[in-house]
Symmetry: C2
Subunit: 194 residues, 2 copies
Amino acid sequence: MTSLTPQPRKLPTQRRAVATCAAIVEAAARILEERDADALNTNRIAERAGVSIGTLYQYFPDKHAILVTLIRRERDMLLAELRAIPEGSDTALEAMVAAAIRHQFARPRLAAALEHIEQAFPLGTEANAMAEEIATISSGLLTRRFGAIRHSDLLTAIVIARGLVNAAGEGLLPRDGLSDRVVTAVKSYLLAVT
Amino acid sequence: MTSLTPQPRKLPTQRRAVATCAAIVEAAARILEERDADALNTNRIAERAGVSIGTLYQYFPDKHAILVTLIRRERDMLLAELRAIPEGSDTALEAMVAAAIRHQFARPRLAAALEHIEQAFPLGTEANAMAEEIATISSGLLTRRFGAIRHSDLLTAIVIARGLVNAAGEGLLPRDGLSDRVVTAVKSYLLAVT
DNA sequence: ACAGTATCCAAGCAATTGCTCAGGTTTCCT
DNA sequence: AGGAAACCTGAGCAATTGCTTGGATACTGT
């Protein structure tokens, strides 16, 4: 029930230490991919990262902080892709969907695991900030093709797209034709409400 | 990583014992609503149910089994509502969406918690059976209005509806107008692909 | 009433968990 | 070179977990 703003207990200054921190976060990611959230404990993370448990706690105040760092890492990767889409593009929607799908299928099990973990966290200001940023980016990219969109409709469209991509990532939906299906779903909804 | 088919260790025969079993399952539900999945342990469940830990393990072989029973209980409630919708109705889609929304908002926190827990379980035959049954029911109810629907499109429509209802249940989407939004999203998608 | 069965209780064990701490090793800087 | 700072180690503690077990209590049919 802690908020989502812990800093590393101590910032790594040497190259070796930076690598250690990255290894710890990546170890957590691999455990989530290969096992599940229950199997994620600090002893295992340290072992998987090839460092001792003491080292882990030198940089992360608690287990929670490792997950937050991992979530930030993944989130920033997706946001960077979305921000890179030019505003004037005719195929902005397609580009957004493609980015989301690429992100999801790069490490599907990790994406699915983080999806659930993130919801267990209290919706701190940071999680909302991401939702808002995606809404802002989407708004900028879509108004050109769909005109002014009500905020609630924009959120709905985003939820639709997210849901479909996640479902496909978890195997509930066939992957081929996914891009077209998502684009169709979003497009037809937005056209229906404008 | 166990499959989803555990029977109670021993079936309750007396009325008192049936009530005890129900109390245990309901205690688990309340803990999930008031705290989160991490706070759900067998000792706490027994305490919340007002029975001793030994009693709990007389009817449930392990913690997992309690959750499975709870998931079954909730799932069957929704399925019963869906099955009750008459096949010939013109407003079958609206009725399905209404049932889903009613189920979600009856106990929103519980629905959200189970949503995530269910995914952590291995997709045993039973979870798939539910997905298939919903698909079958939907197919029967929707073909009258939308003609023959490809299976992948039906699944897509279901995922869209589920995603929107869940998102609203978790507060990501406004609740008012939810029914209309879901109906619009499903309808416009199905019309677009047929 | 009374045996037999069903039900319940709760102390507590074995394993796991998050995390600390006292001391060793490597890197940096002059 | 050599001292200080940064970095790393891993034994192990306190708390929590899932679960067992031995025995007390309530219900059932006759």
